[in-house]
Amino acid sequence: MNVPRYWRTESARYRLLGETCRQCGKPIFPPRDVCPHCTEPQQEPRTFAGKGEVYSYSTVHQAPAGFTDYGPYTVALVKLDEGPLVTAQLTDVENEQVYVGMPVEMVTRKIKEEGANGMIVYGYKFRPLIQQV
């Protein structure tokens, strides 16, 4: 069981909690100790709004162990409005309807289950914007 590993990344997975660098002001996701832009080791926590667009995507037909229950599913690089790229699955969309540039929003979904007895891991996925009625 990977309980401590999953627990440590909860804030990032549930709420897109990332950082703003105190030195260069750039947005950072996922959170890390050293700024990838300027190598300054001091950051301010901040959340990302969860809106963005699809930068690239790929539909996985041969899922690796741990994800075989969910296939076929589409993973994407999502460019958040604030700048960072995020790797995440897309959900609530037919795989054929995805396109580069598609506007998406973050939702919290099941990422995987560690079997019938183990932990359920929740985290971010992205879906196309809901059409208001």
Partner: protein, 382 residues
């Protein structure tokens, strides 16, 4: 630094070895290389391997293979750099000789993937990516290829068919390599109709993981002249890294580590891309072949696929690649691949490449890890 030479090469077939274990394969390749060099003992052993811990619960491969091959109590250590582990072992061997620390070194790459089920192997292969923020999201290595290929097609306005030449060329060359996993040519039609692994990566866009082991014997100039009729000089050995996660790169379609590693290698050897006669690149995915050609200066950004479409990557072309099948047709036994690339360069430079023989003097091999976060480049001279 002391000049380093390859004086012996050995390899097993790349493929499915149901009757050979990880250590059996390693010993097979090591004994073949020792015999080719005409030596019975070495001072130092470096073993390149990626997944022995995950798939066969085996660590301490240096000592194990030294033990199992009868090399005794020599210095022996495993090097790991995901898919580039074999090249990493070669890098360690090169440094040992070049620094004067060791006079005779054996560098062996070995991988055993068929002892585990394919879903577990896929999951383990993805450990070369960012485990916390890529693998944990269900990203598989083929999906990494898919993300890169889809973005490449979008940014550079090409369709899937632009990548077909990489698979067709690899299989055409693999057909003449008795050690290759696949020794059958494939057609452009077969490429077009192949099933999807991670859309748009199809069956012929991704190299097959398999079992295999390859080894080289390294030493300095004076010893090399004693041992080998045609010693091959390692005139460059260079490593560079990049941000591990694809999403952390400033430009995902630019293989920064491959570029920097190649630049360092060219500088060491005092050459440029135009001097390279053949390039054993890391075609784990057809898109990686295109991106590698661009990163190493053989094509402008977005034009790697043009080299394929224009026939420049074939044996008659300007920059032959995958001359013995590449990762795509010879196979991709992960931690062993980096040594296979160099063994194949050595075969070409020694005139032992058979039907695929090129007239060549300078060959380059580049091994990439994961989505390109580690790049290890060697240039060999006949």
């Amino acid at each position: 630094m002391i000049d380093v030479y390859i004086v012996g090469i050995g390899q097993t077939n790349a493929g499915e070895h149901w009757d050979r274990s990880l250590r059996d394969l390693g010993v097979d390749a090591m004994l073949a290389a020792l015999q080719d060099a005409g030596v019975g003992q070495v001072e130092t052993l470096y073993v390149g391997n990626m997944l022995a811990g995950e798939l066969v619960a085996q660590a301490q491969l240096g000592a194990l293979l030294a033990d199992w091959s009868g090399l005794g109590c020599i210095e022996a250590i495993r090097a790991e750099a995901a898919d580039a582990s074999g090249a990493a072992a070669l890098r360690m061997g090169y440094l040992a000789v070049a620094s004067g620390a060791s006079d005779l070194v054996l560098a062996c790459g070995v991988e055993k993937t068929t002892d585990a089920d394919s879903e577990s192997v896929d999951q383990a292969w993805s450990s070369g990516m960012d485990g916390e923020y890529e693998t944990s999201q269900g990203l598989s290595m083929p999906a990494v290829g898919g993300l890169l290929m889809r973005r490449y097609m979008h940014e550079h306005g090409v369709g899937r068919e632009a990548f077909a030449p990489f698979a067709v060329n690899a299989h055409a060359n693999g057909a003449n390599n008795p050690y290759a996993m696949f020794q059958r040519p494939i057609s452009v039609e077969a490429y077009a109709h192949s099933g999807m692994v991670a859309d748009p990566v199809g069956m012929f866009d991704v190299a097959p993981l398999c079992d295999g082991a390859a080894a080289v014997v390294l030493c300095a100039a004076d010893r090399a002249r004693e041992l080998a009729a045609k010693p091959v000089r390692v005139c460059a050995s260079a490593v560079a890294t990049d941000r591990v996660a694809l999403h952390s790169r400033t430009d995902p379609l630019s293989l920064q580590a491959a570029h920097l590693s190649a630049l360092k290698a060219y500088a060491q050897a005092g050459v440029g891309p135009h001097d390279i006669d053949l390039f054993e690149l890391h075609d784990s995915f057809s898109v990686m072949a295109a991106l590698s050609l661009e990163a190493c200066g053989f094509a402008e950004r977005g034009h790697g696929t043009d080299l394929g479409l224009d026939g420049e990557i074939g044996l008659q072309g300007r920059i032959p690649i995958s001359t013995m099948g590449g990762l795509k047709a010879r196979g991709h036994p992960l931690g062993a691949t980096g040594i296979y690339q160099v063994v194949e360069l050595a075969q070409q430079l020694r005139g032992e490449a058979g039907a695929n023989q090129l007239d060549c003097r300078l060959g380059m091999a580049q091994s990439l890890a994961g989505s390109g976060a580690t790049a290890i480049t060697h240039i060999l001279e006949a």
